[in-house]
Amino acid sequence: MLARLRIADDEVADTVDKLTRIVEFVDRLSQAATGDVVPMAHPLNASQRLRPDLVTEPDRRDELQQNAPAVSDGLYLVPRVIE
């Protein structure tokens, strides 16, 4: 996609300079010692709450299927899928 950016002639020198600095910054990042750092899986420093194993959701099929373009025999219909 970068190759498709239109850059006016008088901006080329400045852009080259900026892009070069970005590449240098990425190079610097890759030098950081991250061996002991656990990969971040989530921005919040918290852990997953668990719920008890209880059935709490009633059957709402008729209501929910009103949103579907096509249903039959209780099934949601989709264009035929060939295995």
């Binding site: 997953q48 668990l50 959701e57 059957d59 099929r61 219909l77 989709v78």
Partner: protein, 495 residues
């Protein structure tokens, strides 16, 4: 199979966890309900909904990890596995990728035929939690041929995907490993293991390489192996197919193949995706799952006696043959039945084991019923076995009594009395029958006396027939030998 080729197999087993509700929603997981009546907003992937993890699913995964001597991760992460298919409404499956809850486990198989009965260690790479997809139905009824129907009741059902190392070396080993996993999840009570209902499914990665070669051959993945028998047949077919292709100078294409049980062959389904095709990334809707040592130890305290330990105990405590102990401990219910029957019987445990493994299991198989629903309860079988042990009836008559018990005709003692099946213990009565049989068969008696020893079997048969099977075969044998050799040459074998 050619000895020039080495077979490499790894299995991915999906065990449906026996929770009441789904892994990320409060919809029911009950099997066999009307389509889409157990698919809530979360299962349907509506915008704005958030998954909340089921505590039981985590506990069950942890329990499995401990049972296979694995590392239970104190921190595990859910990831999105992206792919497009109508039975996956969100467009991604919530699974675990880089940080699964269970890693580095192992189990031992003894009946795979590769190590002369010595236990073989099979590594378990990982076991991770994930949600199941829905079900597509391709022929709903006439007039709807242009459509597939989607039932999302199964969507969101918790699965534990158990991935083995490529340590298996034959179809038989693969089946032995799969049976072991099946047995463990059932012992732990974390899955019902019902293969007909799809609660326990298996995919197999199969490759072959010239014996002695280090690098692995190209593998294919076999899908849809929903019985132990199909696993063995499909893998054996695939091994032969790959060897044929390679010996003809061809190459194996890495692909997913579907097993067709009607034709006993595998056929290509689709080219195999690589992991990066799925664009895995940590699911921002779910935080890392963190568990501590106290939690793990509390789960460890709930572990039951596992199949291997029970097998060893059965050998030591009941003096059973290792092989019989293996069969009895394959299922917890069968092991419990045996122990209850043995406790109720005066007879030796070995005799009880023979009856549980033999007649009882055959009757259960024939009628397709589970041991829990056995028509003969443990105490009933114990009473029958005791009548053999105290020589009231022979083993052969006992089978007749068992069949009558199975048919609901009463207890062993009631049936023995009602049908007059008690063994003839009166020596004089038996002698009379033996004399009559010898008298009726003069030419055979002469041949026996001339040295044709094998005819003893014929005479025993005739006596058993004449007594309706009620004679003690050992006693008859001794008596016949004595009488046929004229009595005066008795070698002391008379009883």
């Amino acid at each position: 199979m050619s000895a020039a080729w080495e077979v490499i197999i790894g299995l991915e087993i999906h065990a449906q966890l026996a929770t009441a509700s789904k892994i990320f929603s409060g919809a029911s997981t009950a099997y066999g309900s009307e389509p889409n009546t157990q698919a809530c907003l979360i299962d349907l992937g509506y915008p704005g909904v958030l998954p909340v993890l089921n505590r039981e699913a985590v506990r069950m995964a942890c329990k499995f990890g401990l049972a296979v001597n694995a590392t239970v991760a104190r921190r595990s992460v859910f990831a999105r596995k992206n792919y497009f298919y109508p039975d996956l409404p969100k467009g991604y499956q919530i699974s675990q990728y880089e940080l699964p809850i269970v890693e580095h486990g192992e189990l031992f198989i003894t009946d795979g035929g590769e190590a002369n009965g010595e236990p073989r260690r099979i590594g378990i790479t990982r076991a991770h939690l994930e949600e199941d997809a829905g079900k597509s139905i391709h022929s709903i009824h006439e007039g709807l041929d242009r459509f597939s129907g989607i039932d999302l009741n199964r969507a969101g059902t918790p699965l534990l995907e158990i991935v083995s190392e490529p340590d298996l070396r034959s179809a038989r080993e693969a089946v032995a490993y799969m049976r072991k996993i099946h047995s463990i999840v059932r012992y732990l009570g974390i899955s019902d293991g019902n293969m007909q209902e799809g609660s326990f499914r298996c995919d197999a990665n199969v490759s072959v390489r010239p014996r002695g070669q280090r690098e692995l051959g190209t593998r294919t993945e076999l899908k849809n192996l929903n019985s132990f028998r199909f696993v063995e047949k499909a893998i054996n077919f695939e091994i032969e197919r790959q060897i044929d292709v390679l010996e003809d100078g061809g190459d194996i294409v890495q692909e997913t193949r579907l097993y067709d049980s009607d034709r006993n062959q595998t056929r290509p389904m689709r080219s195999k995706e690589e992991a990066n095709d799925y664009r895995y990334f940590p699911d921002p809707d779910l935080l890392p799952v963190v568990i501590d040592d106290a939690y793990v130890e509390a789960v460890r305290a709930t572990l039951p006696e596992l199949p291997d330990a029970k097998r060893e105990r059965f050998v030591a405590e009941y003096r059973l043959r290792n092989e019989d102990a293996g069969i009895l401990t394959m299922s917890l219910a069968l092991a419990d039945y045996f122990e209850a029957a043995t406790a109720a019987a005066a007879a030796k445990p070995g005799l009880v084991a023979n009856w549980v493994i033999g007649e009882l299991s055959a009757a259960l198989n024939r009628d397709g019923i589970d041991i829990e629903a056995s028509r003969v309860p443990p105490a009933g079988l114990a009473a029958l076995v005791d009548r053999i042990a105290d020589s009231t009836i022979s083993g052969k008559i006992a089978k007749e009594v068992f069949d009558a018990m199975w048919a609901g005709e009463g207890s062993a003692d009631q049936i023995i009395e009602a049908k007059g099946l008690r063994q003839i213990t009166d020596a004089a009565e038996l002698e009379g029958v033996v004399d009559a049989v010898i008298a009726q068969n003069p030419s055979q008696a002469a041949e026996y006396r001339a040295g044709k020893d094998k005819l003893i079997g014929y005479f025993v048969g005739q006596v058993m027939k004449a007594t309706g099977g009620k004679a003690n075969p050992a006693q008859v044998n001794a008596l016949l030998k004595n009488k046929l050799t004229g009595g005066e040459l008795s070698d002391g074998g008379g009883s």
